[in-house]
């Protein structure tokens, strides 16, 4: 008889907080944005920090990165308290990519990446053989080899962001912290950026912590999720665990938005026009389903024909819909949507 192992070995904790409180301290007042935070980011894992706007994600990230002091509590990098490190020592353990827009003219991509060697290189910033090797490795790691000699200021936003990641990698950190690296990117670049970060955690022992608003993308890609809830507590775990516990729904659902864990995505509530039934198979059936959902019809899986307000059949050359024994037909989904809208107005 074999005994099932219930707990697999978790990778090493690269970054850990103990009862951390983050916020702002002025001469008279102390304003804690988030308190009693206990988090762990593991080597070789992509951790996504999520939560509603203005909840304190950036403050938390800046504190983790040592860019602003913790109010209370401890941040540890590989077991060493952040406060015990020098600025250069910190830079050798932790790399940062910020939302700051970098404006620097007449400066090649390779030069930008070389700046990442600041904490390693000599007094005048001269590059030793090993420094050059690391720079070239970082350039390859983010896939910007073809841009290496181009002027940084002429790159697209997505390319720039990659270069900034390469620069952080050149610091040879154990932890990489990124504050909304996808914020100004178009959709393919967003997917590529998150994909790149995931790939980095796989090819190196890097722990990556990234805050993002791309919830659905993060839920599909992250190894771990830190979800800041409206009350200020932080839910952690694998994305699936957090979804199952209802955390996402609690944090983001609104009057017109529902989170569907099974689809790992949000749905807009568009009204209640009744139930609809779909006949047909394949992608066309899926698309018809999407049209019905958008126009406010529920589509129960096992619906009897007579219990439904509309019945839609899809076939190779279009659709047929029957409602109250009248049959309508069309060739594309635009006409289906128009038909459904017309019914709604009539009702």
């Amino acid at each position: 008889m074999t005994i099932a192992r219930t707990v697999a070995c978790l990778p090493e904790a690269a970054l850990r907080t103990h009862d951390l409180a983050v916020g702002y301290r002025t001469r008279r007042t102390t304003h804690a944005v988030l308190e009693r935070i206990n988090l762990t980011a593991r080597a070789g894992e992509l951790t996504c920090l999520m939560g509603p706007n203005g909840i304190g994600k950036s403050t938390l990230l800046r504190t983790l990165a040592g860019m602003q002091p913790a109010l209370w509590g401890v941040v540890e990098l590989n077991g060493v308290n952040l406060r015990a490190m020098t600025q250069a020592g910190l830079a050798r353990r932790l790399g940062v990519v910020l939302t700051d827009r970098v404006v620097v003219d007449a400066w090649t991509v390779r030069r930008v990446v070389e700046l990442g060697r600041y904490a390693h290189s000599g007094w005048f910033g001269g590059m030793a053989h090993r420094d050059r090797e690391v720079v070239e490795w970082a350039i390859d790691a983010v896939g910007v080899r073809h841009l290496a000699d181009r002027d940084f200021s002429r790159l697209s936003d997505g390319e720039r962001q990659r270069v900034m990641v390469a620069r952080a990698l050149a610091q040879e950190p154990a932890v990489l912290v990124l504050d909304e690296p996808t914020a100004f990117l178009d959709v393919p670049s967003r997917v590529e950026m998150i994909g790149l970060l995931r790939q980095l955690t796989r090819s190196t022992e890097l722990a990556v912590v990234v805050s993002t608003h791309d919830l659905e993308l993060a839920l599909r890609t992250a190894d771990a999720v830190w979800l800041v809830m409206p009350g200020g507590e932080v839910a952690t775990g694998a994305p699936e665990d957090v979804m199952l516990a209802g955390g996402i729904a609690q944090a983001f659902e609104g009057q017109h938005i529902r989170f569907h864990a099974a689809e790992r995505g949000f749905r807009l509530l568009t009204g209640d026009c009744g139930a609809a039934r779909i006949r047909g198979t394949g992608l066309r059936a899926v698309m018809a389903h999407a049209v019905l959902e958008r126009e406010g019809y529920a589509t129960p899986i096992e619906a009897a024909a007579d219990a439904c307000d509309v019945s839609v059949e899809v076939h190779d050359s279009g659709w047929r819909a029957s409602a109250h024994e009248v049959v309508y037909a069309g060739s594309d989904f635009a006409s289906l949507a128009a038909f459904l809208r017309a019914r709604r107005v009539a009702a």
Partner: protein, 344 residues
């Protein structure tokens, strides 16, 4: 530093040498190059030409070179530190401070104590003006540094310096308004700027101070490069930002203050030279820019000095008018030629 950079630097060095020789040869009496050489070698001691070269023109040319290099370096530091292409050596209000100091002793409109104190110290004329400028610049700089040390954002520091400048200028305006015409003349003379007033004796103070300032910049090229990405990124890469900022502000202000004290408020070179070098060298790398700015600043200052003497014995053009009239079109041309502008 690439081969092309080295080539351009060499060309600048050659231009500088030519400019130095020209500046020694040209003037109210023209001295042939052979005469200049023999004067420099000390083989024609006693001739009037050699006297003019060694006691008048050589210190004047050295002063121009030091002033041009100093202002260029200070401008470069300020522009990088404040991430602002319009920053110049006087961004922290030090030229207004020097102005105030000089106004107090020159205008003397019922503010006798300042000049009386100077006279008691055995200083008169130019030396007194220089001392007053140094004290004024130092006072304003100290206040700005103390205040700015509590401020996080570089932009705020810049605005602080600007506000200080305005406040101090207002005081100067009051002094000007209350002063006598013949004093105003002397005051205006100081405002024109000049490289001619610095003798060998005064160079002994001017040169070391200005060289120290340039060495500070040379020693901090790595820090300045890191600052190109902004203070927050620089910090995340291991730069001690507060320390680097203080060192750079002190260094740049020292350069600006020293030049102002010895040569008057020389406008324009400080802002223009860094832009010209960025345009010419096509890089923002301070390891290249610092030597380039030193050379370019020296050349331009020498050129301006020679042009201000052009009318010959009829009198001199104000140096400030020459630097701006000569430099503004050049900078505009350089900016327009580089597609996005060498600044941004």
């Amino acid at each position: 530093m690439t081969k092309a950079d080295l080539g351009r630097l060499t060309a600048l060095v050659l231009t500088l040498v030519a400019a130095i020789l020209l500046s020694l040869a040209l003037g109210s009496t023209r001295i042939p190059l052979r005469g200049v050489f023999s004067a420099l070698m000390g083989t024609s001691r006693g001739s009037s030409g050699a006297f003019v070269v060694t006691t008048i023109r050589l210190p004047r040319s050295l002063t121009a070179m030091l002033a041009g290099a100093s202002l260029g370096i200070a401008g470069l530091q300020m522009q990088t530190l404040f991430e602002n292409p319009l920053a110049d050596p006087f961004a922290l209000g030090i030229s207004s401070g020097a102005n105030l100091g000089v106004a107090l002793v020159v205008l003397d409109a019922g503010y006798g104590p300042a000049s009386a104190f100077g006279t008691a110290m055995g200083m008169r004329g130019d030396a007194l003006v220089t001392a007053a400028a140094i004290v004024g610049a130092g006072a304003v700089l100290t206040v700005v540094l103390i205040v700015s040390n509590r401020v996080a954002s570089p932009t705020t520091v810049l605005v602080l310096g600007l506000m200080f400048g305005y406040a101090v200028s207002a005081v100067v305006t009051v002094l000007v308004g209350a002063s006598r015409p013949e004093r105003l003349q002397q005051w205006a003379q100081w405002g024109f700027g000049s490289f001619s007033g610095v003798t060998w004796q005064r160079l002994r103070l001017f040169a070391p101070l200005s060289i120290v300032g340039v060495l500070i910049a040379l020693a901090t090229t790595k820090q300045l490069n890191a600052l190109l990405l902004g203070e927050r990124y620089a910090r995340s890469m291991g730069l001690k930002v507060r320390q680097a900022r203080l060192l750079t502000m002190v260094g740049a202000s020292l350069l600006g203050a020293v030049v102002t004290a010895f040569c008057g408020p020389i406008s324009f070179l400080g802002i223009a030279v860094p832009h010209l070098c960025r345009g010419l060298f096509g890089t923002s790398d301070h390891r290249v820019l610092v030597p380039a700015v030193v050379l370019m600043g020296s050349v331009l200052a020498l050129l301006a000095q020679m042009l201000s003497l052009l009318p010959g014995s009829a009198g001199m053009l104000p140096l400030n008018a020459v630097t701006s009239l000569l430099g503004a079109p050049v900078v505009v041309a350089v900016l327009l030629r580089s597609r996005r502008g060498a600044l941004a």
